[in-house]
Symmetry: C2
Subunit: 758 residues, 2 copies
């Protein structure tokens, strides 16, 4: 006889998590937590003061049982929403009908390629609107563990697809617009939802040559930590007022991130001033257990939980806090005020979400199913895909001639549906594959899946070649997908996986137009395709989301014009043999060719920022107002500004003209800065501003205004300080420096930001 044990702590069915407390008639009605005139910290403190010690400890894990005797509901802190409300412990999709789906936008790596900040803000606003709708239907909590804003430094990283790319400035700009969209502004009366910047810090390795994220110790110089690995997190904490942070699995310089007070206190809270009463840190899931094993950082389970809570990890996504905080307290390993502080932060955060407030005063509580998957949301999911899709090669075959009536649609992505969402997805309203989109356009389509992404076999070749033989033109949709790049799975090669190179080469010998779609988040080396004249066009499509097929086909046929730019470097295959994934250094050395477009000393297959159009553009870059600037004057002009790095320097107008005659097209203006200033070595260049211009008609012009700040000009020294240095500066427009402008900074160097020392 098998026995099922009834365990009260396990009996929390999904629906039980998402109800709001009854502040009108429940046991808490007369407690200050239900008093809307009190401050959030007063309200949260009053609530926690009612908890017994055991009740406090019970509520330190992500699956929070609440306090039934107080009428405090169970609450699931873990919701996901990377590119739409997603499957996660706290989100419950209905089987059918209302709340059975939510909008599925492209993966961030493709939305990053759009280089369109207002787009990101609109996407985030829709995600948080739909999240509120689910919450109001008791189908979701209000805390979302997104975004993943670690820079996509190494092309092998399995989760790079979750990020907007490799450039810190790009990430900062993207995440600012994302978080204000998710949370509903910088300091709203009620937050729409609470976003969570993750994974803090230095997390960009899953499982590579036996180095596993749970036990990996990332050795990071203070310079790289300040300049590269934490820039986007600074924006989250200091500038965008994000509600939550997640500490990462890995250690940084010997200390697991969730036990790392240098990261969680000195940098995050003390230096960035992330000290609102409602701002809290969760561990990545079971990262606290990982402090014990496999980090082997703390010798007992009690010291493990004490290390984490003392360092400032407020919530355990896991069970170690609830299981071991009592014994740790008995051993005197932490103070009760530390536990109280953690709980107050979390419940103050719920106060700011209106969790304890009457629904009728809160606009977000009126959001319902009619606000989910609206026509605007559906259109935006399509637009986000179109804007990100990036044209890498075109011999004139694209847009496709209208004389082509039949298409061979071949490859593992040709009829991709779920796969178009990458990871962290929910239930979308629909998934339009390339095949479906081609059929919707009226083509006769010969479809053949061909070999799978990492398929080493040729058994699918004969059927696919027959399809190719039958059609006017061939679209091959392949590349990589989540079977080779995934959470927990890094890559070992940048080559096209499986037999795809052999297969595509044979497809290129049919003498028909061949368009190759390189799908997936990480880049793969296209140099096996680009010199082949039989490969007429090459498009990178990322993970394009629910309307991905439509976006791809509309670009192929010219209903939409491509203007995406690569948000990551496409390295040659050899790159992975030149630097181990575990090497965190950015700058080139005797053992490294350097990392990212800023430091890579080799020749990329396609550089960061690359992307072709269907028309031709000319662009001009306004010259600076002066040839020389005095540093003291610049800094002096920012007196009283809280963060001098954000103080304006100058705006540069970029005038862009569509010199073609037929195609209206977007254009992304990218402004880089190069030059010898600050500590050697000097980066190749750094991105300092960008803007996307929309729908420039043939023969017409538009102007992008690119705003530079003092931070745009600054470098980071060995100690992590952000410094303005005298020297030469050159602005470069676009990835290939179509236009340039130079100026000089003179005078003594000036520190814009003093970095805390470990």
């Amino acid at each position: 006889m098998a026995v099922l044990l009834a365990l009260s702590t396990l009996a929390l069915a999904g629906q039980a998590f998402a109800s709001f407390p009854d502040c009108a008639t429940g046991p808490l009605a007369n407690n200050t937590v239900c008093d809307t005139s009190a401050t959030p910290i007063e309200r949260a403190t009053a609530l926690i003061s009612l908890f017994t010690f055991e009740e406090k400890v019970n509520n330190t894990g992500n699956t929070s049982p609440g306090v039934p005797r107080l009428g405090l509901p169970a609450y699931q802190w873990w919701q996901e929403g990377l590119h739409g409300v997603a499957e996660s412990p706290g989100v419950i999709f209905a089987e059918s009908g209302e709340y059975s789906y939510a909008t599925s936008f492209p993966q961030p790596i493709l939305m990053g390629a759009a280089f369109d900040d207002p787009l990101i803000n609109r996407v985030a606003t829709i995600v948080s609107t739909e999240a509120r709708a689910f919450s109001n239907a008791n189908r979701s909590g209000l805390d979302f563990w997104t975004p993943n804003i670690n820079p996509f430094k190494d092309p092998r990283w399995g989760r790079g697809q979750e990020t907007p790319g490799e450039d810190p400035f790009h990430l900062q700009s993207y995440v600012y617009n994302l978080i204000t969209g998710l949370q509903g502004g910088l300091d709203p009366e009620y937050k729409r939802i609470v976003a969570t910047c993750k994974h803090f810090a230095g997390y960009d390795l899953e499982n590579w040559e036996g180095n596993v994220r749970y036990g990996f110790d990332a050795l990071i110089s203070i310079q790289d930590l300040s300049e590269f690995y934490t820039r986007s997190f600074q924006t989250c904490a200091r500038d965008a007022n994000v509600g939550a942070f997640m500490c990462s699995y890995n250690a940084v310089n010997g200390v697991p991130s969730c036990a790392n007070s240098y990261l969680l206190q000195d940098i995050l809270r003390d230096h960035w001033g992330w000290t609102n009463e409602d701002q809290w840190v969760t561990s990545d899931c079971d990262a606290i257990q990982n402090i014990y094993e496999p980090h082997y950082y703390a010798p007992t389970r009690e010291l493990t939980v004490a290390d984490a809570i003392n360092a400032g990890t407020d919530l355990d996504c896991g069970t170690y806090y609830p299981a071991h905080l009592s014994a740790a307290y008995d051993e005197g390993l932490y103070n009760i005020s530390t536990l109280d502080r953690a709980l107050i932060r979390q419940y103050a955060s719920l106060v700011k979400l209106g969790y304890f407030d009457p629904a009728e005063n809160q606009p977000y509580r009126y959001i319902g199913w009619e606000n989910v998957s609206t026509p605007e949301a559906q259109e935006l999911a399509y637009t986000a895909a179109v804007e990100g899709i990036t044209l890498l090669k075109n011999d004139g075959t694209l847009p496709l001639s209208p004389e082509i009536k039949t298409l061979a649609l071949i490859g593992p992505w040709a009829n991709a549906t779920t796969q178009m969402q990458g990871n962290y997805y929910g239930q979308p309203p629909y998934l339009i594959s390339p095949l479906m989109a081609a059929e919707a356009l009226g083509y006769t389509v010969y479809y053949s899946p061909g070999p799978g992404v990492d398929d080493p076999t040729t058994s699918s070749f004969p059927a696919a070649f027959a399809a190719a033989e039958a059609a006017d033109a061939i679209i091959y949709a392949g590349g990589i997908d989540t079977t080779v790049e995934a959470e927990g799975m890094d890559r070992y090669t940048l080559d096209w996986p499986g037999v795809q190179p052999d297969f595509i080469d044979q497809l290129s010998q049919f003498g028909k137009p061949l368009i190759v779609l390189q799908m997936g988040g990480g880049q793969i080396d296209d140099s096996c395709l680009t010199p082949n004249p039989g490969v007429n066009a090459l498009i990178w499509g990322g993970y394009p989301g629910q309307s991905g097929g439509t976006a791809l086909l509309d670009i192929i046929v010219g209903k939409a014009a491509p203007a995406g730019r690569l948000p990551i470097t496409q390295y040659p295959i050899d790159y992975v043999y030149q630097i181990p994934m575990t090497d965190m250094a950015l700058r080139p050395s005797a053992t490294s060719p350097g990392r990212t477009y800023m430091w890579y000393t080799g020749t990329p297959v396609f550089p960061f920022g690359y992307g072709l159009h269907y028309t031709n553009f000319t662009s001009t870059l306004a010259q600076p107002s002066a040839a020389t600037y005095d540093i003291a004057t610049l800094v002096g002009g920012c007196a009283g500004v809280a963060h001098p790095d954000l103080c304006a320097f100058e705006s540069f107008a970029v005038n862009v003209t569509n010199t073609g005659s037929t195609t209206t097209s977007d254009y992304v203006a990218l402004l880089f800065l190069a030059g010898e200033h600050g500590p050697a070595p000097y980066p190749n260049k750094v991105l300092v501003a960008y803007d996307r211009l929309h729908a420039i008609a043939p023969g017409s012009s538009q102007t992008a205004t690119l705003n530079l700040t003092l931070g745009s000009l600054a470098r980071v020294d060995d100690y992590g300080n952000t410094v303005l240095y005298p020297g030469e500066y050159e602005l470069q427009l676009d990835y290939d420096a179509q236009a340039t402008a130079s100026f000089t900074l003179t005078g003594e160097q000036a520190v814009l930001d003093y970095w805390p020392q470990p």
Copy 2:
């Protein structure tokens, strides 16, 4: 509109493969191939002579269309039967009822641990009987691509589970008994089925640090090639008369195995005399395409197929032969006689299977469903599991006290069903998990899956601990499974994966009897468990097949007695950091601790051959008939023997007494040879004989007769020659040398076998 293309070469539905040709009234009736009085080569040659060139080329792939105009049916050459008739392109299980299942024996790694050759022969006979039943129902072809007989050299290898272990002699003895069981003897009138020894040669790496089997070049010394990597294949070819070989994905010393005439001609055919008209070589699946990419060995596809067929690869499991042999012939890259030879070999093989003969004269054609999953087969699947299961630690807790009435059965293997089969499995009649078996024994069972095998999270802990709390004793069933060791997936660590060590450690603190089942094929380092007195017993259970749960529980409760022995070394965790998987050398060096129990210089966690019992045994080893032997006399006594290495040396009696008072038990007698003779360095020892004694009752004795040959005494020199050397020899009984016997060889060294040089 999506269009489905009707392709004649693709229209071969499964059922079409397995029908026999009509030699009575079909177009071939008057051809010599249907003349049972002609020789196989005459018959096959006559058949092929009717083929057009195009028909020949069409029939060079595993999915052979036959020749419809001749009434030659389509044939699928690819069946699998590693441990029972298995899912594969040529095997069609019925949805339900007859032919919906076949017996599923344990994985070879566990059957290897039985060290019971007659058992293997019985298992193989049942597999081939069931295969014939499926064939007679038009549900299977007659060619089975089994066994995998590469030695399990590196514990990381994902397919080591498919092999009997790491020792060459053990593999030789196992595979001889297996093949004669599968094929029905050494030279039967009709073969039961054709077995295929794979993967020739040097294949034991899937995907490790970017080294992928399809393109890996195994650099192997001639000494290691002769002594270690090909010994089992020599038995297949020279001694057991196996019908087919499979060349492997990897290259050996720069030449892809399927284009490697040194392997396929010089060694396999010329040296081992594997030249019967019906003996043929298939490529591993798409290994021929791999010669082109990713080996990049041949610069064109035409040279690729020519290299393979000229080297002696007769069949392409894949499509490159059918697709490119025509063009290669047009380029004059091979002779038509080479193509004919390949086809003649294959069809002569079918002749020997009775494929073209009247059914009524063939006993195997009468085998039907009543011969599948018989009570004998079911009993044998259980027995094979019991015999292999190996006891590694026992403080007296096992067999379990009858006072224990309730069990907590916890862990990812606790209710394992499909997983008990490992890989290459079919549809079994039933799968009895440990949980089912415990319930069948009448226990009240508290079941909790706990964390998954490679699960890093603790969310399952509370429920599992509640189960542990509720029971009298705890059985934890975990370890590894095919989610971490698999075809295409090697391991990076020998540690227990995921949170299992933390979890088991917490289970050990409940103060209750705790039995740990270490499941899976490759070993993991148990030293995190063995010193813990709270872990009372430890059992290795491999992949135990359809009755695996029953076998495990019967051993735990004492209904059966454990007597399995580890067929592989259990290395400490550090081992993987001491030698890269790509290093093929066996002998220790400055960069290697050595490989296998023969050469490993470290201390294993558990040594090769280790295994405990529920009773005590004493054993005695007979002394040699002489203290000194003259080499010339020994060799002279073997004059006229075809293979002097197989010529008898002496038999050694091992008398084994069960000195216990309660438990009847099997006992495996293992005889090793050590000593300073032949080229330095000297191996620690080598296994030279073994036998399993059955059911030795308390107080009684049995005798094993262990036969040594001249080959048992020989060493292999730098050139791969097998040589008898003067020097000291010591026989050691059992893994811990419970008894020893010494003798000396004198005189001049003598070569028993001259190895072909590359």
